[in-house]
Every structure is written in structure tokens, then in C-alpha cells.
């Protein structure tokens, strides 16, 4: 309908003329009862508007003025610029994100029902204390694994919504892990274990890494990758059914986080030839930063031995010690394998796997 054209308005509401006058004024139309004459302001919000990419096409760069608009939405001109720091597809995108997100959503579990918290068991006091110390350690590592993706979540342009979605579920996963490990730690009412300065220093270097690719590499490929071995070990040698169940549930989530980290790294490495060197530097830098710290605290190491021993006897402790040594070898092997998959040559993969934090995450 062209500007200046009139349309006659009819209706039965007694207030029609009063309301139509007010509405016309607000919309910029001329009120000439019973006619409304179209003004020029109508439709102005669409003039000059541009689509925020295609519905099915992820843009190479997402401009700030697309803001939080849906991918493919028509964005009015003159809107604010959003300061999303991660706005290039090359930095964040992996084609695997959509599939990993679907899998993640389908795999969600409820801590209240997925674990039989009332299942009866009794452990020797030393073994229960070891479990609580391990849980204390796991909780602080899960807290760090929650904070790292959460920090980047708000920096990624929402145009790359599948990546944002994967990280959002990952944060929720970690929140659940913190919950179930806390519930297991508190199950028998004994005090929580020790959180060491060295362990926290290691996690701080992870949280403080400002580069998304480097942080994701350190967290998900090396840290959570190492945790796959640890959680698998804990599930296998768990002395009680609740510990077995919660580590089993967390393991499945962490495997997904590692898969996403690997997919992201493979995509970024394919577009950025300098990244290999930067990833290697990041591992060496973190190792140097942590050189003066104690690494894995003795309480956790001892607790892993006792937990794997299942009993506080010399023979059982010897068996537990052997199992923890096998765990460390398995962790190292896993890191080497993942680094090699990302294109590091075997020698460098071995060196970097060796330099990974002694705190595991």
C-alpha cells in the first residue's frame, strides 16, 4: 500500500475512533476518521536491513552488528555493535559441533535418578578417606573445567550457535560432575580432603589462558584427555558402587568433551599453519610456570593407591601402587596418541605429553 493512500476502517468497538487516533499518531499515519492515510514511517525498520548470514550458511566472519540475532534473521540497520571477541569462523568452528551437541543433549542424565545414592556399602576407614580425598581433587578440577568454557562462551559470536551450544552443555555437564562428586564425598559424613597450592596453581594457569584455541587444547585435549584415563581407572577400581557409578557417568561426558576439543583443534590446525608451534609453546610455557610447584599432591597420589588397593594391607597397597603406575603410563600414552592425531611428530608428541602438568588436568 503506497504512502498517502487511505484505507477506511470499520468496527463495532465504541472506542475505535479514540484508539485509532492514538494509534495513528504513534505509527506516523494520518488520522482522518474513518480513514487512515498511510505515513512514510511504516516499514522504515526494514529499509536497509540485511540478513545475518543464510539460515544454512555459516559466515566466515560474524559482524558485531548482527548481535544476538538469529542466524538468517533480517537485522535492522543502526543497531548496536556487540563486542564478541571470537567472531571469525576459523577461530571457533568445527563441522562436528552440531552432531556433538545433539549427542550431548541426548545423553543428559539426572544426578537424582542416575545414581542409587541409598545403595548400602561400608568401606574400611582408610579406603573411605582415600575416596573422599580423590573426590575433593576431582571437584576442584571439574570447577576449573566449568570455568574455562564458561569464560569463552560469552565471547563467541552467537552466529556460531552450534559451538556455543556444545560449550553451554559442557558447562552444565561440569556442574553435574561437581554435584555428584560432592555428594559422594559427603556421603559418609567425613570431612573433605586437602586442596593443595600446587594443584590450584596448575588449574589457575588453565583458567588464565586467554587464547581460545590454546585454552581448549590444554583443557580438553590434554587435561580432559588425561582425565579419561583417570575416570576409567576410578570406575574400574572403585571400592563402592556409588563411586563406580559417578565416575562412569562423568567419563561418558568427558569423552564427548575430548571429542569436541579434538574436532575443534583439527579444524583450526587446518586453517592456521602457525598453530602447531603455538600449541607446543603453550605446553612448554605452562610446564615452566608450574616447574616450581609440587605437581600432583601426595595426598591424591596416596589416595589413588589406597582406593585402587581396596584394603589397607601391605599386599593390597602394593597392588594399588602398581595400578597407579599403570594409570600414569596409560595417561601418557593417551596424550601421545591424541597429539599424534593432531599432526605432531612422534618425538614432539612424546616430549609434550611428558611436559603436561603433573596435576593431570
Amino acid at each position: 500500500m503506497p504512502v498517502g493512500q487511505a484505507v477506511e476502517v470499520r468496527g463495532r468497538a465504541p472506542e475505535l475512533a479514540v484508539h485509532l487516533r492514538a494509534w495513528c499518531r504513534a505509527q506516523g499515519h494520518r488520522f482522518d476518521w474513518p480513514y487512515v492515510v498511510r505515513g512514510s514511517a511504516a516499514g522504515a525498520h526494514r529499509r536497509g536491513a540485511r540478513a545475518a548470514g543464510g539460515r544454512h550458511a555459516v559466515a566466515a566472519h560474524a559482524p558485531g552488528h548482527w548481535g544476538v540475532a538469529a542466524r538468517g534473521a533480517l537485522v535492522e540497520a543502526g543497531g548496536p555493535d556487540f563486542p564478541f571477541a571470537l567472531d571469525d569462523k576459523d577461530e571457533v568452528w568445527t563441522a562436528a559441533a552440531a552432531g556433538i551437541y545433539r549427542q550431548a543433549v541426548a545423553s543428559q542424565w539426572d544426578p537424582a535418578t542416575a545414581v542409587d545414592w541409598d545403595e548400602p556399602f561400608e568401606l574400611p576407614a582408610e579406603v573411605e578417606a582415600a575416596v573422599v580425598q580423590v573426590m575433593t581433587y576431582l571437584i576442584e578440577n571439574e570447577n576449573a573445567a566449568l570455568v574455562v568454557p564458561a569464560r569463552f562462551l560469552g565471547q563467541i559470536h552467537p552466529h556460531f550457535r552450534e559451538v556455543v551450544a556444545v560449550l553451554a552443555v559442557q558447562v552444565a555437564d561440569e556442574a553435574r560432575h561437581v554435584e555428584v562428586f560432592t555428594r559422594r564425598a559427603e556421603l559418609k559424613g567425613i570431612p573433605l580432603g586437602l586442596s593443595t597450592a600446587g594443584g590450584q596453581a596448575s588449574l589457575l594457569t588453565l583458567i588464565e589462558e586467554p587464547d581460545f584455541a590454546l585454552a581448549h587444547f590444554l583443557l580438553s585435549v590434554l587435561g580432559e584427555g588425561t582425565f579419561l584415563s583417570l575416570l576409567s581407572f576410578l570406575e574400574r577400581f572403585a571400592p563402592d558402587p556409588v563411586t563406580r557409578r559417578v565416575t562412569h557417568l562423568a567419563l561418558a561426558d568427558e569423552a564427548r568433551h575430548v571429542a569436541f576439543g579434538m574436532a575443534h583443534m583439527e579444524a583450526v590446525l587446518a586453517t592456521d599453519p602457525t598453530l602447531h608451534a603455538r600449541l607446543a609453546t603453550a605446553v612448554r610455557r605452562r610446564h615452566d610456570a608450574l616447574a616450581s610447584t609440587a605437581g600432583l599432591n601426595a595426598e591424591v597420589f596416596d589416595a589413588l593407591v589406597v582406593l585402587a588397593a581396596g584394603a589397607f594391607t601391605p599386599a593390597a597397597i602394593a597392588e594399588g601402587f602398581a595400578r597407579v603406575q599403570a594409570l600414569e603410563a596409560d595417561m601418557d600414552e593417551g596424550r601421545r596418541r591424541r597429539l599424534a592425531k593432531l599432526g605432531f611428530d612422534p618425538d614432539e608428541a612424546a616430549e609434550l605429553a611428558e611436559l603436561h602438568t603433573r596435576n593431570f588436568m
Partner: protein
Amino acid sequence: MAGTLLMGAVAYDPKVVTIWDGFRDWFAAQGLAFDYVLYSNYERQVEALLAGHVHVAWNSPLAWVRAARMGPVTAVAMRDTDCDLTSVVVVRAGSGIESVADLTGLTVAVGAVDSPQATLIPLSYLRSLGVDDVKVQVHDIGVGKHGDHVGGERDAARALVSGAADAACMIDGNHLLFGVEGTMPAGSTRILAQTPPYDHCNFTVVAGAPADLVEQFRALLLGMSYDDPQVRPLLDLEGLKAWRDGRTSGYAQLERAVDEVGFYDAGGNVTAEDYRP
């Protein structure tokens, strides 16, 4: 400041800062040095305008009436939405009040004592129809801001719905708004009377203001296009689609109302009793 056009505005809402900061930047980009001064009430603003503290004032219709009585002033521009407003007198559906004459002796809820649209003009209109014996229930919110704050009208509408008043006065646009937001549920009220059209705010310029700057200001305002995405958010905030030349033909009802209740005297002195802006 030499070469700067100074405008007064009343801070009836925090968004006033956003609006005039935005206009200030936009005017600067167009080559007009412009700044604004905020006043807490229109009486102070009009006195400052006539004292020459500012060159132009973004005035309510009541502030215009007072300024025009105090000295030579002109209205250079106004919003499209300032033209041809009406106010309505509303009663509860089923109240049995069929004509304005039935309001005699009943309680009529109005907005703030200094609201042109929700108090002065509709009460004057009722008097013109022979209804001058009503109990006026004033809902004073933002006194001194000449009814810019919607709260007084909303409270009057609530008083009507709750039965605390028999009728309520409000601007036509707020009758529409209160229906949409649920303050007056659909079908619960009926419009008893509607005033003739009148005009609202204008940019009032004091004699002696720098004519070249005022003309540049007026020309820039009238040149603002709602199609311009840089300007559109400012126009949306200020509630208009286009600026128009100022006209003063739409203030006769308010002039009459001011005289009837002795709100200002002929020289623009505040003579209203119990008015403490």
C-alpha cells in the same frame, strides 16, 4: 559558551539523558554546537529560559502557556505526535453513568495537579459542558513535570477500576495503553466524553537567542528522517516519526483551563494553590 545553542529539558525520566546525549552527538556531527541543561521541573526551566540561561526549552504545553505569558517567545518545532491529541473521560461499564451530567456530585480521578492532558484540559472540558460540581481526586506523581510521568494517569485509571473513583481522565493514547497492559481490563470501562484536539510539547525559543543557531537547529530537526538508521533510535526514544514546524494554534483549551483555575496569572506568575513543584 559562545557559538553553542543551549537547550533546557526536564528530567522526567532517566532516558532523558540518553535522548539528549544522542541528539547532542548527532547535532555535533552535523556541525551544530549544541548542549543541554536538565531541570527538575518545568517552572524552573521556564524561568531560566526567560532569564536567558538557555536559548531554547523543550517545553510541555503548560510550560509554553506560562512562557508565552512571561515574555516574547516563539515555538520553532514540535513532534508529529504533539499534534491533535485528545483526552477522554472514562467510567466503569455498567456504572449507570450515561452522560457527563450524571457526573455531578461524583468523584472524578485525574492525574497530577499540573497535568494538561489528565487534569487541566479534561476538567475544563467538563465545565464547558456544564459539569462543574464534581469531587476531583488528584493523583499527584511527578508534580512540576506537567504530567510527563504516566504514573498519575495510571493511578487515576486504577482508582476508577477499583471503585475509588466514578470517572477518570486520561490522554487517548494512555486509554489504549492501559487497555493493552491490563490496567483497565478490556470491556471494563466506557468512554463518556472526548475533548476536542489540542497540541502538546514544543521547542520554545526566547527572544534574543542566536537566530542563526536557532535556524540551524530547526532545519536539522526538520531534516531528520525516520528512514535514517542513525537517527531512528533517537526518534523512537523521544516518541515521534517526524519533527514539524512549531504551531501555537492548539493551546486554546489549555489557556482557558489555566485561566479558569487561576493556575498562572496574566504575567505568568504561579498562582495555583497547593502547587509545589
